[in-house]
Point group: C2
Chain length 362, copies 2
């Protein structure tokens, strides 16, 4: 097998151009005689790499100057602890919206350190929608409001973002739709994202945090969990994940060459539109459980009317070079993750396969 379209939910497909560039300079980065993996993180070569990556990200997302960008480790799971330990401050509790698997994990971990007020939940209809923000029971004393902009497993995405209320910062787990659409960073207090969907390889976590939030940490916080420590050291308090940062930098450069986030957003709309259209037009052979307004443009979740055909669907897809289409084991069904790096041709190939499979088995 020499070429596949990889619909994995993460770690996920990377731009072909990025892999080619990384391959080309694997043994010698820009005439340094070293692989990026071999460079001291404090040497001038790697400092150039990380500075350029941050600058490109700032430009792509239009990040205001009073926000810090941190290159951390541990994934979103580590942020589930770091967010409350850093931002609870002198408040007793935090507000959280529960829209699925990742929200629930964030809630569970926050409860170890703080009261957690679930302002709204879509569990009543199996996490197939986002509760309207007018119905949320917000606490005016909350330390922050946390939500998950895209639920990777449920395939549910916020179509609009909540309004900040008073001084209560919005905190968003943007792991699976980071850089996929234009957002106004200034409306958020903190955004975090594991890299392994839209940014680069796993092992890297990006945090974008407003500077005034850096000094609310609990006194007993482990040093490596303090945003202030990492911010003061420009993400060099200890050795960062240098190679993942380098690949992320190549992805940012690629995104700029593609026309930036606005262009990606248009492409993502087109790709998701093709897939949802094919599902809707299948006469019920396929169906998507998620309400139309909240269907994710990143993770297209669908089922077959006849579940006994699922195995044949996956096997046939694999034979056609369309891999990693099985839904998460927690929910079953199918899932096509179509992040920025999934080319339109990959989605078209999947749609063709789906039509053909439905024709044969319908």
């Amino acid at each position: 097998m020499s070429k596949v379209y990889n619909f994995s939910a993460g770690p996920a497909v990377l731009p072909h151009e990025v892999l080619l560039e990384a391959q080309g300079e694997m043994l010698d980065w820009h005439g340094s005689g070293m692989s990026v993996m071999e460079m001291s993180h404090r040497g001038k070569e790697f400092m150039e790499i990380i500075h350029q990556a941050e600058q490109d990200l700032r430009s792509l997302m239009n990040i205001p100057s009073n926000y810090r960008v941190l290159f951390l480790q541990g994934g979103a799971s580590m942020q589930f602890s770091m967010v409350p330990l850093n931002l609870l401050g002198d408040r007793a509790s935090v507000d959280v919206v529960n829209t699925g698997h990742w929200s629930k994990l964030a809630i569970k971990e926050a409860r170890r350190y703080a009261g957690v007020n679930v302002v709204a939940s879509s569990e009543d209809r199996n996490f197939t929608y986002v509760p309207a923000s007018e119905t949320w029971q917000r606490d005016p004393q909350a330390a922050y409001l946390h939500f998950t902009s895209n639920e990777t497993i449920g395939g549910v995405q916020f179509s609009t973002f909540p309004e900040p209320e008073g001084e209560i910062p919005l905190v968003c787990d943007m792991s699976s739709d980071f850089l996929s659409r234009e957002i106004d960073v200034s409306r958020f207090g903190l955004i975090y994202a594991g890299a392994q969907k839209n940014i680069g390889p796993s092992g890297l976590t990006l945090v974008i945090v407003r500077e005034d939030l850096l000094d609310r940490a609990q006194p007993q916080i482990p040093t490596m969990m303090s945003y202030r420590v990492h911010a003061d050291a420009d993400s060099m308090y200890n050795t960062p994940a240098t190679y993942p940062i380098y690949i992320a930098g190549l992805v940012f450069k690629w995104l700029k060459a593609q026309g930036g986030v606005r262009a990606m957003e248009a492409r993502n709309e087109e790709k998701a539109g093709l897939l949802y259209h094919a599902i809707e037009q299948s006469g019920g052979f396929y169906h998507c459980p998620v309400e139309v307004a909240f269907r994710s443009r990143m993770n297209v979740v669908f089922r077959l009317r006849d579940e006994s055909l699922e195995e044949a669907f996956v096997a046939g897809a694999r034979a056609a070079g369309l891999v990693q289409l099985k839904g998460h084991r927690a929910v079953g069904g199918m899932r096509a993750s179509i992040y920025n790096a999934m080319p339109l041709e990959g989605v078209k190939a999947l749609v063709s396969y789906m039509l053909e499979f439905a024709r044969q088995h319908g």
Copy 2:
């Protein structure tokens, strides 16, 4: 510049064969059609990679079956918190040997969670030796005894390991001499090592822990800091640093092909011997501040009698393709890090340069 010898203390030189192999399969790992960076961590391809890596490491180090191998993130700095949070149990304090920069950071962090009894310190002579274990003031009630087998900055290495006392486990930060010499794992309760010296790229931390130590964690420990959580999930509680794990696996395979740890130890002795010999024979032009018995075979620290020549030494070395020789900013001077992947030829080239430089400026 196309070929250099890289004496960086970490991230550091990797085996040329490993980089070539990674380059060759960057776009397509073993016919999967995917880069390792793009693979789901739960897919069969990556499961094969991580299982093979663990198996090879177990075989290289002869790790007993009652020890778990964990592939974590956050480096040794994260372990400075995780070790006390997991191993303090119902004890009030921990024993620590202070042999330099990294010991001191481990002590500082442990003090956030536990009483810390410094059983011995070599600070009286500027961290140029390891205090004899007969002089250590050990506490029979300590939760564990922590030491740093090799101080990367000071260039000081334990030549023998302390004896375990009673039931008190030995905990060792082996970041900079892991896999460089034969050790008896069964004498330790826990060994940890950041990858970026002898294992692979930064962003990966290995922990080898005896199973009976997994259930002593403080109740308020963040989930991502619990060894028990990571052990129960076979390092897949969340997405691990997949690409660094893959490279580490290639390094382990390379080590086996080189003859294993015993062969590496002999090579490391030879390499360090050449450098220290050159220093000793320079008639005082170069000198090593570390006592002979504790000179590191991984990080050879030396000074020039005439410190005003240091800049010329570094510039000339760079011109000769010998890079990253400057000592850590905390101590100054020179440092040649000669981990497993530094070929003998690199050390010989450095020795030749040192002799020539001394001849010209002596």
